[in-house]
C-alpha cells in the first residue's frame, strides 16, 4: 500500500490526477474504520491532512468559504455565530475525538444520507467547490449529492471548499437517535429561516436516499409566516410539519422504522420552526 502525503493543494491535485482510484483520507473517521474492518482496501491512499490550504475558512462579504479539511471542532469554535445550523449539526457528530479529526469536506465526500453536516448545508443552499488539475467547478450541494454514498465527485477531483451564506436569520438542527451522544441519525432536520428574502428552507437527513428538501413545506411556511412579527398560526405550523413528514422517503432499517421517522420528522419540524420563529420574534421585539 502506498500512502501519499501532499503538502500543498497543487501536489494533492497532482496525486489525485496520477492515481484516480486512490483513497482520499481527510479525518479518516470513515475511511480508517472501513480499512480496519477489512471492508475497504486501497492500493494508494492520499492523506490530505498535510494540505494546510484546505484546513481553513474565510469570509468574503456575506459568503463563508469553508475549507474541506476544516475539522468539526474548529467549526464549532469559530463559526457558531456565522453558521449556527452547521455548528449545531457539528456538535452532534461522534465524540470529541471524532470531532477533532472529522471534517466537513469528508462528510460531503462520503455523501451518506445520514451525514450530520449535510442537512444544514442543503438548507442553506451551499455550493461545493471541486478542483482538479483541469480547473475548478462549483456545484450546488443538492445536485452534488445524487444518492446513498454517491456524488458527482469525479475520480480526478478533490472537494476543496464548501461555500455557504452567512446565516440570514434563525437556524436550527435536530437529530433523533436512541442514544444521547455518538449516534448515527435515525432522522435529522435542518431549518434555515432567511428573513431578508422571507423564505424558510428545510432539509431532511437520514430519511431518504440522500438529503432531501421539503419544498412544499417550505412554500407553505414562507407564505404563512407574518414576517413583520414572526407569527405563524398553529394550523399552519401543523400543516408545515405534516408536509415535512410527507417529503421524507424513509425506509425501515436497523436504526428505525419508516413510520417512526416520518412521525419524528413532523415533531422536529414543528419544534424547530417554532424555535426559529420564537428567535425571530425576540429579534423583532
Amino acid at each position: 500500500m502506498t500512502v501519499l502525503r501532499p503538502a500543498t493543494l497543487a501536489a494533492a491535485l497532482a496525486a489525485r490526477s496520477e492515481h484516480p482510484g486512490a483513497l482520499l483520507v481527510a479525518g479518516g473517521t470513515d475511511a480508517m474504520v472501513a480499512i480496519n474492518s477489512g471492508r475497504l482496501r486501497a492500493e494508494v491512499t492520499v492523506d490530505l491532512t498535510g494540505v494546510g490550504e484546505l484546513a481553513s475558512w474565510s469570509r468574503s462579504g456575506s459568503t463563508i468559504r469553508i475549507g474541506s479539511g476544516l475539522t468539526y471542532t474548529r467549526l464549532i469554535a469559530e463559526l457558531g455565530d456565522l453558521c449556527p445550523g452547521l455548528a449545531m449539526a457539528s456538535r452532534t457528530v461522534g465524540s470529541p475525538q471524532i470531532r477533532n479529526r472529522g471534517t466537513v469536506g469528508g462528510n460531503v465526500a462520503t455523501a451518506s444520507p445520514a451525514g450530520d453536516a449535510l442537512p444544514p448545508l442543503v438548507a442553506a443552499g451551499a455550493v461545493i467547490e471541486l478542483a482538479s488539475t483541469d480547473g475548478v467547478r462549483r456545484v450546488p450541494i443538492g445536485a452534488f449529492l445524487v444518492g446513498p454514498k454517491r456524488s458527482l465527485l469525479a475520480p480526478n477531483e478533490l472537494i476543496t471548499a464548501i461555500e455557504l451564506p452567512v446565516a440570514r436569520g434563525p437556524q436550527q438542527f435536530s437529530k433523533v437517535g436512541p442514544r444521547n451522544a455518538m449516534v448515527i441519525a435515525v432522522c435529522s432536520l435542518a431549518v434555515d429561516v432567511d428573513v431578508a428574502s422571507r423564505r424558510v428552507a428545510v432539509a431532511i437527513g437520514s430519511a431518504g436516499p440522500t438529503t432531501l428538501r421539503a419544498l412544499e413545506a417550505e412554500a407553505v411556511a414562507s407564505a404563512a409566516i407574518d414576517w413583520t412579527t414572526g407569527a405563524l398560526g398553529d394550523a399552519d405550523l401543523a400543516r408545515f410539519a405534516a408536509l415535512v413528514a410527507q417529503a421524507a422517503r424513509p425506509i425501515d432499517d436497523v436504526r428505525g422504522t419508516a413510520a417512526y421517522r416520518r412521525h419524528a420528522l413532523a415533531v422536529l419540524a414543528r419544534r424547530s420552526l417554532g424555535w426559529s420563529l420564537e428567535a425571530l420574534r425576540r429579534a423583532v421585539a
Binding site: N36, S37, G38, M88, R91, T92, S95, Q172, F173, S174, K175, V176, G177, P178, R179, N180, A181, M182, V183, I184, V186, V254, R255, G256, T257, A259, Y260, H263, A264, V267, L268, R271, W275
Partner: protein
C-alpha cells in the same frame, strides 16, 4: 517474620481504598492487552466464517488460499488432530465445521500467514460451497433443557389476578477488547497460549482435547483482558491459534475485528415470557405461574445452567405459596447464547418486576409497599424449596431505597441541553418531556449451582528479599478488569501483615481458580488466598534468607445439588445476593427519547473489601442494565446479525449514564470469607426493570419489551417483533 513486640498494621488491607495497579496504565495506554502481544517471527491467524445461518457444507477448497505466497497453514476440520468439538460442559460445537454450519459466523477454515494482510487475502480465497438449509429460530427450536418448578399447592386460585407477556432482546457483553491471543509452540512439542479469558483451566482442557496435547503440554497464561462479562467463558480463538501454531511451528496471533467479535462469543439469551400472578385483595402473593422461553442459539454453551437460573429466580425475591414455573431453552440457528452478567436472572427480573407493578396497580397498593409485604427474608423457602439461610434484606433494601431523596424536579427547564432527552442533538427544549420514577429489586446466586464444585486454588509464598519479607500470590484466577488482583493482595496483606505483596500473572501452572463469573472470585479465590496465607503464617518461623515458606490451598464452597427434574426442588444454590434500584427518567413522550436522570441503588455486599472497586462494580453493572433497558440489542433477521458494529449496537455513553446514588449495606454473609458477598452481578438485574418502570410511569405505556425503542414510547400499543 518481624520479631518486634510492637506490630504496626500494614496499609492496603481489606476494607481500605487501594488503587488498582492497572488503572493508570489503562488510562495512559501503556497497559498491554492481549491484542498488543507480539513475538519475533510471529504469524497471524484469520478465521473463515459461515455467511449462512444454516447450510450444508458441500465442499471446501483451500488450494487457492494455500498457494498464496506467505501462507503458512490453511486448516479445516480434517486437520483437527484431537476431539473435533469443544464446549464448556457439552462439547457439541465443532472446532471447525464439517457437515453443516448452524449459525452465521461459525468458523469453517483457519489460515495462518506471515502477516495479517496476507492471511486476510488467503481467507478470501478459500472456497466453501454451501447448500442453504431452512433457518430455525424461536418458534421451532429443539428443546435443550426444560426446568419445571412445582412449588406448593398446584390447584390454587386468587382474588386478584394479573398476567402479562414480556420479551427481552439479545444483549451483547460488548467488551472493548476483542477476542485475542498468541499461541507459541514450545520445545516440548506443546504450546504456551497467552489469551484473554475468564477461566484458564476450562480453556486448557478444551485446547488439549482438540490439539491432542497433554494438559502438561498445554500451558495457558492470562493476557491483558479488556472486559469479559461472561462473553469469554466459552472458547473463541484458543484452539484455532494453537492448531495454527503447532502446524506452522511459529507463534501465531489472532485478534478478532470488532465485527467478528459479535460472531466470536456467546450473547445474553433473548427471552419470551408469559406470567400470571395471583394475590389476595390485601396484597399477599398467592401464586406465580410463568412460562419462560430462552433462545439458546446453535450450540449448548452454558444454556442448561442459564435456564436453571431463570427458573430458580423466576418469581423474584418474594415469598409465594405456590409457583408453577416452566423454563425452557431451545437450540436454533440464532447466534449461540450463554453466560452474561446476571445469567438468567436478568431476563426474568424484567418480567417479575413488571408483574409486581401491574399487581400493585390492580390492587391500588403502592408498588414498593407490595414488594415489602411479600419480601423474602432469612428463614423463608425459595420456590425450589431451599431454605434462605444467609442474609436476605429485601424489605430493608427497599425501605432504604425509598428513603433516599429524589433528584430535584425540573419543572423549571434544565439549563444544560445535555440534561434533556436527546442531549446536544437538540430535539427538545422541554416540549413533550415528562418525568417518571420506577422501583425494582432482584437477586441471584453467587458461585456455581446444581452440584458444581467450582473450587479455587491459591499458592502463597513468603521469601526474604534483601532481608525484607515478600509475598507472592499465585493463582489461575482471571483479572478481567474487575480488580481481583488488588483484592487478592489486600487479603494477603491482611493475613500476613506483610506490605510487599506481588500477585503473579495468572496461568495454569497452579491449580484451577474456577471461572471469573457468577460474582464468585473474591469469595472463592479470595478464600483460597486466605487459607493459603493461614497455612503460611503457621510456618513463618521457618522463614530464613535461604528458605522460603510456601503453601497451596483450595477453597470449596458448600455442596449443592441439582434441581429435581420433575419438581424443580433442591438445595441448588450456594448463596444469594440482592440489590434494589430506583430510576428517575425524563421521557420526551412525543419522540420517545429518554434521559435517565438518576439511578439510586441499595445493595447488600456482605462486606466491602475495596470501596472504590465495589462502587465501580455497582456503577458498571447499572450502566449495563441501563443499556439493556433503552438501547442494547443484537438485532436478528432469519438468524443473521443486522448490527454487528459499535455504530449500530449501541451501549450507553457518559451522556446516557446518570448519576448513581449509592447506598451500600454490609450484612456479613456467614458462609463467606470475611463475611463478604458477590458484588458484580446484582447491579445488572433490577436496574433494567427499574428504568423501564420509570419509562412506564412517564409515558403511561405498558412497555413489554426491552430494549425500549423510541417507537415503543410513541405508540399506545407497543408491538413485539419477532426474529
Amino acid at each position: 517474620m518481624a520479631s518486634s513486640g510492637t506490630r504496626t498494621l500494614v496499609r492496603g488491607r481489606i476494607g481500605e481504598l487501594v488503587l488498582r495497579p492497572d488503572g493508570v496504565p489503562k488510562v495512559t495506554g501503556a497497559f498491554q492487552f492481549a491484542s498488543d502481544l507480539s513475538r519475533e517471527g510471529m504469524a497471524w491467524g484469520v478465521t473463515v466464517r459461515s455467511p449462512h445461518a444454516h447450510a450444508r457444507i458441500a465442499a471446501i477448497d483451500v488450494s487457492e488460499a494455500a498457494a498464496l505466497h506467505g501462507v503458512l497453514a490453511v486448516l479445516t476440520h480434517a486437520d483437527v488432530p484431537g476431539r473435533k468439538t469443544y464446549g464448556m460442559e457439552h462439547h457439541d460445537q465443532p472446532v471447525l465445521a464439517w457437515d453443516e454450519v448452524r449459525y452465521e459466523g461459525e468458523p469453517v477454515v483457519i489460515v495462518a500467514a506471515v502477516d495479517l494482510e496476507t492471511a486476510r487475502l488467503a481467507a478470501a480465497r478459500v472456497r466453501v460451497h454451501y447448500e442453504e438449509l431452512p433457518v430455525v429460530t424461536w418458534d421451532d427450536g429443539i428443546v435443550l433443557r426444560h426446568v419445571p418448578i412445582r412449588h406448593g399447592d398446584q390447584e390454587v386460585s386468587a382474588e386478584v389476578v394479573v398476567s402479562g407477556t414480556y420479551e427481552v432482546g439479545m444483549q451483547d457483553q460488548a467488551f472493548l477488547g476483542p477476542e485475542s491471543g498468541l499461541a507459541i509452540p514450545a520445545e516440548d512439542g506443546g504450546i504456551d497460549l497467552h489469551v484473554a479469558t475468564q477461566w484458564l483451566h476450562v480453556d486448557q482442557e478444551q485446547v488439549a482435547a482438540s490439539t491432542g496435547l497433554t494438559l502438561e503440554q498445554t500451558r495457558l497464561h492470562l493476557a491483558g483482558v479488556g472486559g469479559a462479562f461472561g462473553g469469554r467463558e466459552d472458547v473463541s480463538m484458543q484452539i484455532h491459534a494453537s492448531l495454527l501454531a503447532l502446524r506452522s511451528g511459529r507463534p501465531v496471533k489472532m485478534v478478532y475485528t470488532r465485527e467478528e467479535s459479535f460472531y466470536g462469543h456467546v450473547h445474553r439469551h433473548p427471552a419470551r415470557m408469559r406470567y400470571e400472578h395471583g394475590a389476595t385483595r390485601d396484597g399477599r402473593l398467592v401464586y406465580v405461574k410463568a412460562d419462560v422461553l430462552l433462545d439458546g442459539g446453535a450450540y449448548a454453551s452454558s444454556s442448561p445452567a442459564v435456564v436453571s437460573n431463570a427458573a430458580t429466580f423466576a418469581v423474584g425475591p418474594y415469598r409465594v405459596e405456590s409457583a408453577t414455573i416452566d423454563a425452557t431453552v431451545t437450540l436454533t440457528n440464532n447466534p449461540p447464547c450463554g453466560a452474561m452478567r446476571g445469567f438468567g436472572a436478568v431476563q426474568v427480573a424484567f418480567a417479575h418486576e413488571a408483574q409486581m407493578d401491574r399487581l400493585a396497580a390492580a390492587l391500588g397498593i403502592d408498588p414498593v409497599d407490595l414488594r415489602i409485604a411479600n419480601a423474602l427474608t432469612t428463614g423463608d423457602r425459595m420456590i425450589t424449596g431451599q431454605l434462605v439461610e444467609g442474609p436476605a434484606p429485601v424489605a430493608e433494601l427497599l425501605e432504604r431505597l425509598r428513603a433516599m431523596p429524589l433528584p430535584p424536579d425540573t419543572a423549571m427547564l434544565p439549563s444544560d441541553q445535555r440534561d434533556l432527552p436527546g442531549g446536544l442533538a437538540n430535539v427538545t427544549h422541554g416540549e413533550g418531556v415528562r418525568r417518571g420514577v420506577g422501583y425494582a429489586i432482584g437477586f441471584k446466586n453467587i458461585g456455581f449451582s446444581e452440584g458444581f464444585d467450582d473450587y479455587a486454588t491459591a499458592r502463597v509464598r513468603v521469601s526474604l528479599v534483601d532481608g525484607a519479607p515478600r509475598v507472592e500470590v499465585h493463582t489461575a484466577a482471571c483479572e478481567v478488569g474487575q480488580g481481583l488482583v488488588t483484592v487478592l493482595a489486600q487479603i494477603a496483606r491482611t493475613e500476613l501483615e506483610i506490605a510487599d505483596v506481588v500477585v503473579l500473572q495468572a496461568d495454569t501452572l497452579v491449580g484451577s481458580a474456577g471461572s471469573t463469573s457468577a460474582s464468585r472470585q473474591t469469595w472463592m479465590t479470595g478464600g483460597a488466598v486466605r487459607l493459603a496465607c493461614e497455612a503460611v503464617r503457621a510456618r513463618l518461623h521457618e522463614l530464613s534468607p535461604e528458605r522460603h515458606v510456601e503453601e497451596t490451598a483450595e477453597h470449596h464452597h458448600r455442596p449443592t445439588v441439582p434441581l429435581d427434574p420433575v419438581t424443580g426442588q433442591g438445595d441448588s444454590v450456594v448463596a444469594l445476593a440482592f440489590a434494589a434500584h430506583r430510576a428517575v427518567a425524563d421521557v420526551d413522550c412525543e419522540l420517545g427519547l429518554v434521559r435517565v436522570v438518576e439511578i439510586a441503588t441499595s445493595q447488600d455486599v456482605g462486606r466491602i473489601i475495596n470501596p472504590i472497586q465495589c462502587e465501580g462494580q455497582i456503577q458498571g453493572g447499572i450502566a449495563q442494565g441501563l443499556g439493556l433497558a433503552v438501547m442494547e440489542e443484537i438485532q436478528l433477521g432469519a438468524g443473521r446479525i443486522r448490527n454487528a458494529s459499535f455504530t449500530d449496537y449501541l451501549i450507553p455513553t457518559v451522556l446516557d449514564m446518570p448519576t448513581v446514588r449509592l447506598d451500600i449495606l454490609e450484612t456479613p454473609h456467614p458462609l463467606a470469607p470475611y463475611g463478604l458477598n458477590g458484588v458484580g452481578e446484582p447491579p445488572t438485574i433490577a436496574s433494567t426493570p427499574a428504568v423501564v418502570a420509570a419509562l412506564r410511569d412517564a409515558s403511561g405505556i405498558a412497555l413489554a419489551r426491552v430494549p425500549v425503542r423510541p417507537e415503543d414510547l410513541t405508540t399506545s400499543s407497543s408491538s413485539v417483533s419477532s426474529s
